[in-house]
Structure formats: C-alpha cells, structure tokens
Point group: C2
Chain length 114, copies 2
C-alpha cells in the first residue's frame, strides 16, 4: 500500500470499522472482505484483527463466539453504548479535519492563505 494511505488510515480505519459495526454486527474475516470490496485492496487481515482486539479491550464492542459451518468459530463484534459515543466523537473529529482540508484544497487554487 502507499505510504500516504497507510499513514492516513491511522485513526480513520478504527472509525471505519466502528461505523461498519454501527450498521450491523460482524466478525473479522467478514469485515476484511468487505473492506477489500470497497477498494481498500491491501489492508492486511492482521491489521483488522489487531484493531478488533483493541476496540474490544477499550470496551467499545461486545463480543460473542459463534460456531461457523465452514471453519473455526467466529468472533462476532457488536457496537455497544460506549462504542456509539466513541463513534460520535470520531465523526466530530473527522468533520473538523475535513472542513480544514476542504478550505485548504480550495485556497490552493486561488491566492493562498492570508
């Protein structure tokens, strides 16, 4: 993956996964597959699993072990109340950043900062 993307994913990948879990419960393998479909072609599986461990340890998700028909048991993650609060804060931080960057993106093609 590009160095820029790798660095930019720091912090945002967490929000992405939490946002996915806000839609519905999911397990690691599933999340990884979905991310690949969405164009995050080479996000390593290991990265997603490590992230899931982190958000579990922070108490943002509830976990349930569910047997799979084809393979080892799945760890299904569900966003809880704390996770929802944390996700809200993520969106606020994200909005702040996008506002600044949109501003910069437009100024860049004009006269610069004053």
């Amino acid at each position: 993956m590009g160095r820029q993307m790798t660095e930019m994913l720091k912090g945002t990948l967490e929000g992405i996964v939490l946002a996915i879990l806000a839609g519905r419960s999911a397990y690691g393998y599933e999340i990884t597959a979905w991310l690949r479909e969405q164009g995050f072609a080479d996000i390593a599986e290991g990265t997603v699993y490590a992230l899931l461990v982190r958000i579990e340890q922070r108490g943002l998700v509830d976990v349930e072990k569910v047997p799979s028909e084809k393979g080892p048991p799945r760890k299904v993650y569900t966003l809880n109340g704390e996770g929802r609060d944390y996700l809200d804060e993520f969106w606020r931080t994200w909005s702040f950043l996008t506002e600044r960057l949109e501003q910069l993106q437009h100024q860049e093609h004009q006269e610069g900062i004053q």
Copy 2:
C-alpha cells in the same frame, strides 16, 4: 489533544502543511501559529518542526535561511515540483478516504451495509 485527533493527524498533518506551502512559502513558527488560529489548538511546535525536517529530507521542499528582525534566522520552506506531485497524490488518497467515509456516515443512519 484527543487521542482520536492525534491518530487522525498522522498522515494528514503532512498534507495540511504541504497544502499551506502550496499557497505560499512559509517558515515553521509561522505555520505553527497559523495552525493554532485554524483551531488545531494544541499541535506541539516540535511536531511541526519534525515534520518540516522530514519533508525536506524527502526533497519535497526547498529551504532558504532568511534573517529575522526579531529572533534567530528563519528557515523558509517552498514547495517544489516533487512536493507538488506528492501533494497531488495526497489529495487523491484523501478523496478516496472521504468518499468511503461519507458513504459510511450516511448508511449508518439507514439500514446498514448489505
């Protein structure tokens, strides 16, 4: 600063500074002050200086030492051709991310991912 903001700045702060330099040449102290005005209240000065050293070492900017009337000489940074290319790539990466996140932000308040 919030943990989320700290992590999200990784990768994006570099783009922000390059975007500022795309508008006009600037030196570290000035950039820090401008960031503070823009609401990046507690970005440490050391962070900006370290970032400037990095982008200089990568050859994205040209540097000129300019004497100051009140203080030690300033290191004025100017975006060069390579820097402009790198900034273009930054914007492409940024756009990709914002598209995915906007999609997630809207789905979140609807039926979830399918």
